[in-house]
Assembly symmetry: D2
Homo-oligomer: 224 residues x 4
Amino acid sequence: MSAPDYGHAFALWRDQAPEWHAYTHHPFVEGLRSGTLPRANFLHYLRQDYIFLIHFARAWALAAAKAETLAEIQAASGIVQALAHVEMPLHVQICAAEGIDATALEATEEAPANLAYTRYVLEAGYSGDFLDLMAALAPCVLGYGEIGARLDGSGGPYADWINTYAGDEYQALCRDVGALIDQALAHRLGPDWAGLPRAQVLAQRFAIATRLEVGFWQMGLDGS
Amino acid sequence: MSAPDYGHAFALWRDQAPEWHAYTHHPFVEGLRSGTLPRANFLHYLRQDYIFLIHFARAWALAAAKAETLAEIQAASGIVQALAHVEMPLHVQICAAEGIDATALEATEEAPANLAYTRYVLEAGYSGDFLDLMAALAPCVLGYGEIGARLDGSGGPYADWINTYAGDEYQALCRDVGALIDQALAHRLGPDWAGLPRAQVLAQRFAIATRLEVGFWQMGLDGS
Amino acid sequence: MSAPDYGHAFALWRDQAPEWHAYTHHPFVEGLRSGTLPRANFLHYLRQDYIFLIHFARAWALAAAKAETLAEIQAASGIVQALAHVEMPLHVQICAAEGIDATALEATEEAPANLAYTRYVLEAGYSGDFLDLMAALAPCVLGYGEIGARLDGSGGPYADWINTYAGDEYQALCRDVGALIDQALAHRLGPDWAGLPRAQVLAQRFAIATRLEVGFWQMGLDGS
Amino acid sequence: MSAPDYGHAFALWRDQAPEWHAYTHHPFVEGLRSGTLPRANFLHYLRQDYIFLIHFARAWALAAAKAETLAEIQAASGIVQALAHVEMPLHVQICAAEGIDATALEATEEAPANLAYTRYVLEAGYSGDFLDLMAALAPCVLGYGEIGARLDGSGGPYADWINTYAGDEYQALCRDVGALIDQALAHRLGPDWAGLPRAQVLAQRFAIATRLEVGFWQMGLDGS
């Protein structure tokens, strides 16, 4: 199956990330697809994902702080708003349905793979600019979109999870974020940005974040 | 008239800011109240205020990035969302009604007093933590609330402006922000924070931001 | 007199900064040259300059934190080291000789023009990347070099000040910083960076910082 | 053997870090002591440590940027200076003697455990303030001091490494950094800081950084 069309930068960066396949076809993902992923691992992942979402929302907020145009502020703040006021309360609800109450959720100790990924993204944003942050955030946002699209229709015990990322709403978000990235690159570096040394640094940020995503799935698989 | 009740920290900081009265009773403010402020000055202020709002939204986004609890992320991101998706489009509309179109608005050269204030706030946030940012943001958010409350019912050509800040919605926002600040202080520094050296630094941030607000009104009065 | 050769970026940015002449030929500077600047103004400037140097050292430290190569870390940290361990103690000494002791120096209230400039530079660095910081720092470092070179040999009561910036050591620093900037640009944006939109943002940062330098001299002239 | 005296905060934080013993008595450390650590693992560690030192220098530079007093700027910038102009060139030299030339060193791919630790420290500094950065840096600086003191006189193939950290110069640095931390805490939070909620956050930063140090040793042991 070919990659979904989330824009130009995504296509380029994806091709330069050696572990993209290892990330999008990780045994954890295959377990979601086939339904053979043990529930305990899924719940371990969900608990860590809650902590992840907090830092992910913080990273998108930092993107809004580092934006250069009103359109960038609006796009980034819209995502923070959705994360903080919709996704995260929803996550709390899903976990509650699985028997993990809010107190247990907030008491979860952050796994090293979680620390590694979230702090990498935030530090990229603080040390660099809006583009560094986008390149570090893209593997998560767009990779989940690609995984969702590939797993669409798998059914099974993880159908809800799959449908969230395969659904129209999330796929539209992926196209919007892809376009935001392409516009941000053109706005700052012009139409021929891909040939600049800066592009290599951004591709590397994407590749490292992809590597850390592999670690995140692996943490889900190892934990329980 | 006594100060409105926007919480404990505001009451303390306000008392320690030597230029609070100069800010809240600035001739620009009195001109809004009496209606004698020349329209050209008001429009100059509006144009600068648009640029101000961009950086103000960025600063609240930074607050969300520096938040330590989900409640802080939600509060800060809600404000960014309101600024980017409601306030700023509204501002564009108001300016358009005054004959300043979006192109003219975005081409406005940022006045030194505007630069001084916005960058002070953002730098306080980047160099310090969530509390530094709150102390630097408070004079703007809460000072406009106090001014609005005092000018309520003045009528005249600036009644719309006055009603925005005197209105229930904005006054509720001020109480919420005051409570956010008090909770953030207690969460980090405990109930007796006011006696800590840290409290002096925060009071000074508030005082400096207040001084820079005086400069912002003065810029409105001087420009045209 | 032509501009000193501090590299390619400086030459370009200088040409695009409308207030470069107003900065380098400000009445305060002319007063230093002719010796007619009142002593009280010079001392006012010196006191503010002490506070400025603290933030200037912080900004160069931020440059080291945002560096991408060992050479950049070394260059930036060498400047912080020189500022913190040589320049600032020297400044304390000069002020002491003028009757301003360390306590008085540290109790100096920061002037708005000082706040405006230093926070602009630091915020440019925090919000942007190494290049934004260089563009915002350059008018100070290299402008003083150009002023020093032009005033060289003027003699008079401010000969010591002039000689500091006209001297070989400072002129060599200016060439080094100019080369650091050119290399940092080429390293990130390639040899044709000047045609990229990014270059316009950097030129604007330089222009705004130049404008704020004019404000700094004016503060020296107004204060006492 | 009791802990070395590196000040009050270190003593408190060390006691609250569950993995302090796992860090300071890690099999990698015991291998250095007994001399049984395979050379290949040591070289793997050295290569990663070079990358670590770059980010470590950046973190201390960030500390100088976030300093509130001249003494703090001087202390932090002195460490950056020593790292960038002495430690890192020395490291290049040691690696060269082991057959790893500068090109190979710079081409080293950063291990996940290295990414995890360094970005955690930098992000702590960017998101928080000077104290957060100190708490995240302390396990490295002071832990190596404690390890060096404990392994002093072990001799064997790693005697040079041991002597670096056991030596008077490094031990004095540890006492200085410990005092810097204690003073920074008292300066901001007063003499009774240990009872504030803020102290718990800082202790947790120290504990997490300690956990990530365990991961760093483990990476040395696993790699080759």
